[in-house]
Structures are given as structure tokens and as C-alpha cells.
């Protein structure tokens, strides 16, 4: 049995310790917002947060996640209201949408560490998330929007 915490819920998982975290999240726990893209850490569709870091769940063994805190796109916010989610909606970013849970999870780490990222910061943070539809310009715009929403939110507190 492997104990992991996903989106604040404790799970006891019966799986080979070498099983990729992605398949535990999708097939065993049943959270399908995290996507399989390449399986070799090349595309970013499978990004989830492991103790706040944007790990690629397709190459992360579930044994690494044991006793750690995992957050998937389903648990990023209570009501789909993380600044990145709001901005993605506002800027109508996705086209097919397949890569965007990974895109948003990566953007969330950037926004946590930098509340006013430049274009260069965004490029550095997001260069590992591929979008076959080519929505990169809208992704960049949405991250600027999200940063602004986040700054306003923290100023109003």
C-alpha cells in the first residue's frame, strides 16, 4: 500500500511503486484532468504539483509521491478561480484544450514565485509545455492577465 495525498484527500494506493504517478492519478484515483502526452517528460501535458513543484507525472514514480502532497488541475482552486484559470477563461486561451491543464499547472508555479513576470520570465517558465495548436501568444497574454488579477487580489486583502 502506498499512501499519497491528492488535492487534500488521503489515498491508499495498491500499485507497483514504479507505476507512473500519472496512471495512479488517472486510472486508480479517477482524476482525468491531467493528460498523457508523450510519456517521456517532453511535452508537459501531465504536469501536476508535488509539494508545490511542477513535476511531470508521466516519469514520476508513485514511490516518489509517497507521503507527499499532490495537487492536480482539479485541486488547484476551490471553484476554478485560481487567477490563471480565470485569465485562461477571460483570454479564451485553449483551442483543442488538451495541453492546458499542464499549461495552467506550470503557470501557477510561475505566478507563485513571480507576481509580475516579464515575457522572458514567462518563456523561461513555460518553454517545457508544448501546444500543438500554437496558442502560445494567448498563453503569454493570459499569464500577464493572471498576474494582474493576482496582484489586485493581494492588494485588496
Amino acid at each position: 500500500m502506498i499512501n499519497i495525498n491528492v488535492n487534500g484527500t488521503a489515498h491508499q494506493i495498491e500499485a507497483d511503486p514504479n507505476t507512473p504517478l500519472l496512471w495512479v492519478i488517472r486510472d486508480i484515483i479517477g482524476l482525468t484532468g491531467t493528460k498523457f502526452g508523450c510519456g517521456v517528460a517532453q511535452c508537459g501535458a501531465c504536469v501536476v504539483h508535488l509539494n508545490g513543484e511542477a513535476v511531470r507525472s508521466c516519469v514520476t514514480k508513485v514511490s516518489r509521491a509517497e507521503g507527499q502532497n499532490i495537487v492536480t488541475i482539479e485541486g488547484l482552486s476551490a471553484n476554478n478561480n485560481h487567477p490563471a484559470q480565470l485569465a485562461w477563461n477571460q483570454e479564451q486561451v485553449p483551442q483543442c484544450g488538451y495541453c492546458h491543464s499542464g499549461q495552467i499547472m506550470s503557470a501557477a508555479v510561475l505566478l507563485r514565485e513571480n507576481n509580475n513576470p516579464s515575457d522572458a520570465d514567462i518563456d523561461a517558465a513555460m518553454a517545457g509545455n508544448i501546444c500543438r495548436c500554437g496558442t502560445y501568444q494567448r498563453i503569454r497574454k493570459a499569464i500577464h492577465t493572471a498576474a494582474e488579477l493576482q496582484r489586485k487580489e493581494s492588494a485588496s486583502k
Partner: protein, 213 residues
């Protein structure tokens, strides 16, 4: 006389008793000292430098061939993006060095590079301590001539503050060793780790001479 003879054994027995007590006390003292004292620490073998510029430069030639191989140089790039593959191209996705050498934002090394190699071709190699040298001491190998690299390696201001002892120990560093366990499809350095370590120590202990060029 008779009396004296009669008393003699008494003095002898007193002397014997003192002697026995003395021996016992000494034994106890020795034992007590033995119990209280720290076990003597194994003294490290002092590093003996026997200057020999010819042997040193010859050894560094071997060292250089390893350090400039893809397995070592790829994480000692001249820029802030690591290199990748046997042809040492820029790492796809352009991950950045970051201040501590461990990446930035959503692009930290350990997000893809696990504690062990990921099975399969074109998958991320792994190590628990995967990183580049930090931004304030980049320890660049790429583009360095043998002379430049030799001088850089023995300069504590450029080598991560390593003295001779630490330099020698660095041959067995976990990340150095992982160069000989690079994951599927990657060429090994041009000699075994044992041969590299021998050349490395020979170079250092013969005076760490830098080649002329």
C-alpha cells in the same frame, strides 16, 4: 641476627603487597584511561605531492578527454542552458540554470530528472542531486582549452572552493559517477571511471601542472 632473619619475611611481604597493589592500580588506571579515551581516529593519509610536470601534463590530457566528453561537459555549459545528447546540443525546452543551478519556476531540473534514470531511450537521466553549477560559479568546461580548464579546476575561486583534498574526493562525487551511468542510448566517457580517477589523482599529486596550450 636471628631476629633480623625472622623479621625479613615480614618486610618482604609488605613490599610484595605494595607491589601487587601498585600493579593493580596501574592496571586499573590503564583500563580506565582506555575506557575514557576516544578511540584514536584513523589518521587520513597525507596527500603527497611529488612534482613532475611531464607526468602531470600527460595525466591531464586523459582527464581533459573525460571532462570534455558529453557526459561531463553537458552540465558545464558556457551559457545558462544545459547541453544534451552526444553532440552536446542545447537542451530542448531551454531550461535555465537559475541562481542555484537547479532551474527556474516550472522548469526545475528535478521536475523531469528523477532520482534514478528513467527507463527507455530519450528519457531523462536521473540523479538525486541533478543540477548545474550555480550562477555565481559556473565552472564552465565548454570551450575551455586544456590550459584554461586545468588552471580553472585548481583555483578555489573558480572550482567551488575546493582544496586539494576536496578535489581528489570529487572524483567519487555522486553526480560525477553518474556520468558512467548515463541511461540508455548515451555514450560513456572515453575511459572507465577507475582510469579517470587514477589520471585525476596523478595529475593533482604531481603538481597539477597546466598544459602549455
Amino acid at each position: 641476627m636471628k631476629k633480623q632473619l625472622k623479621n625479613k619475611p615480614r618486610y618482604t611481604s609488605v613490599a610484595k603487597a605494595f607491589a601487587v597493589v601498585g600493579v593493580l592500580l596501574s592496571a586499573i588506571a590503564i583500563m580506565a584511561f582506555g575506557l575514557n579515551s576516544e578511540p584514536e581516529k584513523t589518521k587520513a593519509t597525507p596527500i603527497v605531492i611529488r612534482k613532475d610536470s611531464v607526468a602531470s601534463v600527460k595525466a591531464f590530457k586523459q582527464v581533459y578527454s573525460v571532462l570534455m566528453s558529453a557526459r561531463c561537459m553537458n552540465c558545464h555549459p558556457s551559457g545558462n542552458v544545459p547541453l544534451q545528447g552526444d553532440d552536446s546540443h542545447l537542451h530542448t525546452m531551454s531550461p535555465q540554470r537559475g541562481v542555484d543551478g537547479k532551474g527556474v519556476y516550472a522548469m526545475k531540473c528535478a521536475n523531469c530528472h528523477q532520482a534514478t534514470n528513467t527507463p527507455g531511450l530519450h528519457t531523462p537521466p536521473g540523479n538525486p542531486n541533478w543540477h548545474l553549477p550555480p550562477a555565481d560559479m559556473k565552472m564552465i568546461f565548454q570551450g575551455r582549452s586544456p590550459r584554461q580548464l586545468a588552471k580553472q579546476i585548481i583555483d578555489p575561486k573558480q572550482n567551488g572552493h575546493k582544496d586539494m583534498k576536496k578535489l581528489i574526493a570529487h572524483a567519487d562525487d555522486g553526480l560525477v559517477l553518474s556520468g558512467w551511468n548515463p541511461g540508455e542510448g548515451r555514450t560513456l566517457p572515453p575511459m572507465s571511471h577507475a582510469a579517470f580517477k587514477k589520471a585525476w589523482i596523478t595529475w593533482l599529486t604531481t603538481g597539477a601542472y597546466a598544459p602549455k596550450k
